[in-house]
Symmetry: C2
Subunit: 451 residues, 2 copies
């Protein structure tokens, strides 16, 4: 049985590893365009600043590591066409330019997502980058080494932009963050967005909101960025304005694409094509808080999807013991300087959009017993369905936000409601939190808002 993975980052390599375990006999090949497989893309902002010192630390496994497990990983190979009817692939060796045909019995599409580089004049100037692959980070690092930029402009106030801003600032650059919307951290409610903006300014990052970039100026190398009536001098631009699913290959092969623009799969990660599964940043899943289709391109989710797709592809269609991937909550976290910023489930706006009537409560609390040294502050907002009291979403910002978000994600997964969160038995000791978790405190405030 010949099993092929198209794409070799989180989902593709995880699928391959799982398939190998399920079927020790299968012939497994992973085609990967980039020069390395199994890259920890979430670590890239930290590689820019040298916080992650060694490049090889970002490559979890090499082709040789996979070869030892009997998995063939072909790097710098691009699958250019899938012939789903005849189960054949056209592949191009990017190193030699050579094209060849391959065949499969079963296929996993894990083509991922790519960073959007908007068609702004000057976007092709030297010194204008996006950050998606390890090779992008290599290019930025080489540019920084060569030109020692003093001023950097980061375009986009999402989590990539925020992480990049922090890490360029750590390199000693004067960093401006430019966001088209009226606030950074747009996926969050106003309270969190304002906290993030204020924290950036406090740390010395200049934040421009409502600032639509019109042009990157400069001759050969970028020298400025123009938005509205402003023009900033800059020696380096990193654009983090979003990602989109890479679905062309699947679409041309005839796979159904969902309303989010990503590949439609069922709970077993099967596409609409026979013997073709898909996983990772290229697929659409379900937001379990709203029940609505969702596209949430994140490394951990890709890994979990890869586990399901790889297992099921190795077992074959309709096999007993097939795994299911139920969906996501859109849980995410990022660090920006001294604070963690995270969310899970639905924001207030998303919940209303999904038809819920919403009750919410926000508090700011100590992150440890207030008398314990090093206690910080953390903001948390809980969003509940007013009818059932069920927790729909949570946002947190500050010290220990990651813990609060993980607890809330678990609560949403378990369909807990506000009274559960008032009485829930969480762990307390002074070094780890206040006597009542900020979640319990917020739920207690919230409980007063129900009729």
């Amino acid at each position: 049985m010949r099993l092929i993975m198209v794409g070799g980052v989180a989902a593709g390599t995880k699928a391959a590893s799982r398939a190998r375990r399920v079927d020790p006999e299968a012939e497994i090949t992973v085609y990967q365009e980039e020069p390395e497989p199994s890259i920890s893309e979430c670590g890239l902002p930290y590689f820019l600043s040298g916080t992650v010192a060694a490049r090889e630390n970002l490559v979890a496994r090499t082709p040789d590591d996979f070869a030892e497990k009997g998995i063939e990983v072909l790097i710098r190979h691009r699958v250019e066409r899938i012939d789903a009817e005849n189960k054949r692939l056209s592949v191009r060796n990017l190193a030699t330019g050579e094209r060849f045909e391959d065949r499969y019995d079963r296929l996993v599409i894990a083509t991922g997502a790519r960073a959007i580089l908007p068609p702004i004049p000057g976007v092709d100037l030297d010194g204008v980058f996006r950050l998606r692959f390890l090779t992008d980070a290599d290019r930025i690092r080489a540019y920084v080494q060569k030109h020692s930029p003093k001023k950097a402009a980061v375009i986009g106030g999402g989590y990539i932009g925020l992480e990049v801003a922090e890490n360029l600032h750590r390199l000693g650059m004067e960093v401006s963050l430019i966001e088209g919307a009226n606030r950074v951290a747009l996926a969050y409610g106003l309270e969190v967005a304002e906290r993030v903006g204020a924290h950036l300014e406090e740390k010395g990052v200049r934040v421009y909101t409502g600032a639509k970039v019109e042009e990157f100026t400069g001759d050969r190398r970028v020298e400025g960025v123009r938005f509205g009536s402003d023009e900033l001098e800059t020696d380096l631009v990193v654009a983090g304005v979003g990602v989109e699913p890479s679905v062309e290959l699947a679409r041309e092969a005839g796979a159904e694409i969902g309303q989010t623009g990503a590949i439609r799969v069922d709970r077993r990660m099967e596409t609409s094509l026979p013997d073709v599964w898909a996983a990772g940043d290229c697929v659409q899943t379900v937001n379990l808080a709203s029940g609505e289709p969702a596209w949430v391109p994140l490394g951990d989710t890709a890994n979990q999807m890869g586990r399901v797709a790889g297992t099921n592809a190795a077992l074959g269609p309709d096999a007993e013991g097939a795994l299911e991937f139920p969906g996501v909550l859109g849980t995410g976290i990022f660090k920006v300087f001294d604070i963690g910023v995270g969310k899970t489930g639905l924001s207030e706006r998303e919940a209303e959009g999904a038809g819920f009537e919403v009750v919410s409560a926000s508090i700011e609390a100590a992150s440890k017993a207030s008398y314990y040294p090093g206690a910080g502050r953390v903001f948390i907002k809980l969003i509940c369905d007013s009818e059932t009291g069920r927790l729909l979403g949570a946002e947190a910002a500050g010290d220990g936000a990651d813990k609060l978000i993980d607890v809330c994600a678990t609560a949403i997964w378990g369909r807990l409601s506000c009274p559960d969160l008032v009485n829930i038995d969480l762990a307390y000791a002074p070094p780890y939190g206040p006597a009542l978790s900020p979640i319990i405190q917020a739920a207690s405030v919230l409980s007063g808002k129900f009729g």
Copy 2:
């Protein structure tokens, strides 16, 4: 309406505050034996070492603070008898010795728990202490200041003993920890207990297990502790061998006592006596993981119970809007030097005792992305019901154990099972965890163990 709280630490003061909010007209009095109300008892070990610098930081609210909210707090007053039939109390003013009668319409018993000081010869020597109240900590601190002890023996390897050992070590003392059982952290499985023991030794605390103390030696002041054939020199002893619920007052008043030895209450925290509620370390509740009666004396739980008891006492029996306290999971955490050690739900042994057939899996994982600076290690064990896959318990030790335990507690509360934990959508970014949470990794291992 005259509402009286017997006891003014976590449960009693919380009950009073809630009652005040529910009924602005009620006459509310709190009788508290110790010289302060509202003491953060969990902070006491850290006060010994000066980690918590100021004594007043451990007193969350003073009698004056309560007076401002219209709550009378009478410190150094002991309620000596409850006449439940006539709704009368005998009270003694410990400062003056004076006895007087009081009457109530409704009563909340929050008499707490007390530290056990075993009847070992020499237990009354100077320099032998227990640590339960702030006044105990005062006495230990005064003794340390006066005698500058160089060697300390801590009796008991539970969380109080472990916290005290760390804090005396921090004062520069040579600390020996003496535990009667064959390991420290007896509430935990062997893997965690061994990690804790090894960590203590690594930090320079000598650990003696299977060591039943037979005598404290010395003339007027303690000079040694004898167990088996060993005798250690010591200048200071702190015994943390356990606590027991203070139920005499309730028992003599005719309140039913549960099989755990604590006061029996229903979900509304009502005792078997009319118009008498109880909350905190003196009451019995239910372990929601096993459904069995449980007595878990912890400050956060006491606070949550106090909220329910205070609300319901203010509303009156059978009132609409009464709150319910569903039970606990026995969730707890403590810090011992560099690691957090926590548990929730049932240990493997407890689960088997409760009639479950158990499957468990343990892993040790990085606590952040392994390439991110400062990544530590954390051990986690998940314990599931083999029939349903439901999570019954979890233990963790290491960096970030508090987060993992809170997530597992929430999962048990939500009755999640192993497949949920494999796919659950937790927050990932390199500074906050590995790409797949140690919980997901452990659940993945566990899932392989189910038929």
